[in-house]
């Protein structure tokens, strides 16, 4: 897809988002869903960048998200750092963690990378709950319950004033997604594709697999951390329960519905899945059954996700 096409799709998606509060601005429940859409769109896009484009099977995105959230929360609660500063600091922290996790991964083949990164995910929960976490101020198994909301020039963005907070989220989300778009469309993105297609050929043309893979680890964990931090300040509470497999699976489903490696499909996917899941809420326990079945069917009939519908012709010809 061309940069222009991508930009248009993103523009339309966020444009629609931006006018929705006009109709539903006073329904906090729906506004909440919209904020969720915007937040998960970033996480899913980051995941798509590292997995779909860079071809690195990182399963650590949720872990980075939670790390960012906790880091910012702890900074704000324990050290009194104002959220506007705590959020970027959390991003820097998760970015650094991303590099740290990425380093041992660079030598590994796909499923092993997945496992190591997932290991980070699995190990994070005991750390946050245990003594180490408590010593850092994670609140142990209770979690963080008193995270202050974002405050810019004396104006507080919290769920009490949903509409302005929504627009702040929208801006942040859009900024992150645009960064991802430019990365994908820059020569970075091309380098990823090249490395994925033929690492030897790519290296012989001067691409440093090491540098680019590490950079993508850093960037995706940075952005994921930022949005995670924002999430914490938005809800004011955090619990390690986010590390259970549910959220992880749902995020994967978002990517898949959007189309893995078909950015901005992930954004689309996040919007559809969050909204769809809420619409299926009346199904109760059957919701998950239906969701599961839908995923299976979607993979079979829509191999490239929703984005595949747009680029379908193109891709089918290529697949042959």
């Amino acid at each position: 897809m061309r940069l222009k096409q991508m930009a248009i799709i993103i523009g339309v998606l966020y444009g629609i988002m931006a006018i929705l509060p006009v109709f539903v601005g006073d329904t906090r429940f729906i506004m909440n869903i919209l904020v969720m859409c915007l937040i998960w769109a970033v996480v899913a896009s980051c995941w798509d960048l590292i997995m779909g484009f860079a071809g690195i099977f990182s399963f650590g995105q949720v872990a980075f998200f939670v790390m960012g959230a906790y880091c910012s929360g702890i900074l704000a609660i324990e050290h009194g750092v104002p959220p506007v500063f705590a959020i970027p600091l959390a991003g820097v922290f998760t970015g650094a963690m991303g590099v740290l996790v990425g380093l041992p991964c660079l030598r590994l083949a796909g499923p092993y990378v997945a496992l190591v990164t997932f290991g980070v995910h699995m190990a994070l929960q005991p750390v946050l709950r245990g003594k180490i976490g408590l010593a850092m101020g994670s609140g142990g198994s209770v979690g963080l319950l008193t995270i202050p909301p974002v405050n810019i020039f004396g104006y507080t963005f919290s769920s009490a004033n949903m509409v302005p907070t929504f627009y702040l989220t929208l801006l942040l989300s859009l900024a992150c997604v645009l960064v991802i778009m430019f990365v994908i469309k820059s020569y970075w993105g091309v380098a990823f594709l090249a490395l994925k297609d033929s690492p030897d050929f790519a290296m012989s043309l001067g691409i440093s697999a090491f540098k680019y893979k590490l950079m993508v680890f850093a960037l995706t964990s940075f952005l994921t951390g930022i949005i995670g931090a924002y999430y914490g300040h938005f809800y004011g509470v955090l619990s390690f329960r986010m590390l259970d497999l549910d959220l992880f699976s749902i995020l994967m489903v978002m990517m898949l519905v959007g189309g893995l490696g078909h950015f901005p499909g992930a954004v689309f996917g996040a919007f559809i899945v969050v909204a769809g899941s809420e619409m299926m809420a009346p199904l109760g326990a059957y919701r998950a059954v239906v969701m599961g079945a839908l995923v299976v069917i979607l993979v079979l009939v829509l191999p490239n996700g929703v984005m595949g519908l747009f680029t379908g012709k193109q891709d089918r010809a290529e697949a042959g």
Binding site: F201, I207, E318
Partner: protein, 239 residues
């Protein structure tokens, strides 16, 4: 320009390259031949930093030992692969741009890429995905991407394999033009004697990783040891 000094590479028990030394001069077309499994491709892989090795490889006064492949590429060594390598998801144009952007050290140079496209007569396929190219197209693409890195030396690994007489002739012309018009030093691995004798100025023959001879192609191909272990009597008679 490029010199190997006592280079040795072992794979476990197997000595794939054995204490090999040779020098390629600026502007030369330098041939490498030898039986299957003699270690020719391995030599390329060592020069381009794909494997660690013993000994020293020096390029324009710079010691390449221990350098990662991408740095060696930026230092001016470009290569093609025996089994064609392409980027199936990229177009010809993008593939060349990749070489130019990452390998040249000076960043993307559209004019240079244009020139290569024209030179290799790839303009018709410029915006097709590379997985749709046929064998010749893929080979040209590899050469094109390599050239786009603005190398000082181009190393080709069996570029003629699978081509018919006319195609071989065309490829030979192309290589000659790269050498003369672009002023590039070229190393070529081939099994077609005709190519080696007509194209190269110096021919290195290796067997089991060791040098048998390194001489002018005329002399090298008449060396009885070479005929016995590599060319074969029947073939020698034929040509």
């Amino acid at each position: 320009m490029l010199a190997l000094k006592n280079v040795t590479k072992k794979f476990g028990e197997l000595i794939a390259v054995n204490d090999l030394s040779f020098t390629v001069e600026q502007g030369q077309i330098f041939g490498i031949a030898g039986p299957n499994g003699a270690g020719k491709s391995t030599v390329y892989n060592l020069i381009t930093g794909f494997y660690p090795y013993e000994g020293e490889i020096v390029f324009n006064g710079k010691n390449l030992s221990g350098m990662p492949p991408y740095k060696i590429a930026r230092a001016g060594i470009a290569r093609t692969f025996q089994i064609p390598q392409i980027f199936p998801s990229l177009t010809v144009d993008t593939s060349l741009n990749v070489g130019s952007r990452f390998g040249s050290g000076t960043g993307l140079d559209p004019a240079h890429v244009d020139k290569i496209i024209e030179f290799l007569e790839l303009s018709e396929d410029r915006f097709t995905k590379t997985n749709k190219l046929n064998l010749m197209g893929k080979k040209k693409l590899m050469i094109g991407a390599a050239l786009a890195t603005k190398p000082g030396i181009l190393m080709l690994d069996e570029p003629m394999a699978g081509s018919n007489a006319r195609e071989i002739k065309a490829l030979m012309d192309l290589i000659l033009r790269i050498n003369q018009e672009m002023g590039l030093t070229i190393i070529i691995i081939e099994h077609f004697m005709k190519v080696l004798t007509e194209l190269t100025q110096e021919l290195l023959i290796i067997e089991s990783g060791s040098m048998i001879c390194c001489d002018s192609p005329e002399k090298a191909t008449r060396d009885p040891k070479v005929i016995e272990s590599y060319i074969g009597d029947a073939y020698a008679e034929n040509n």
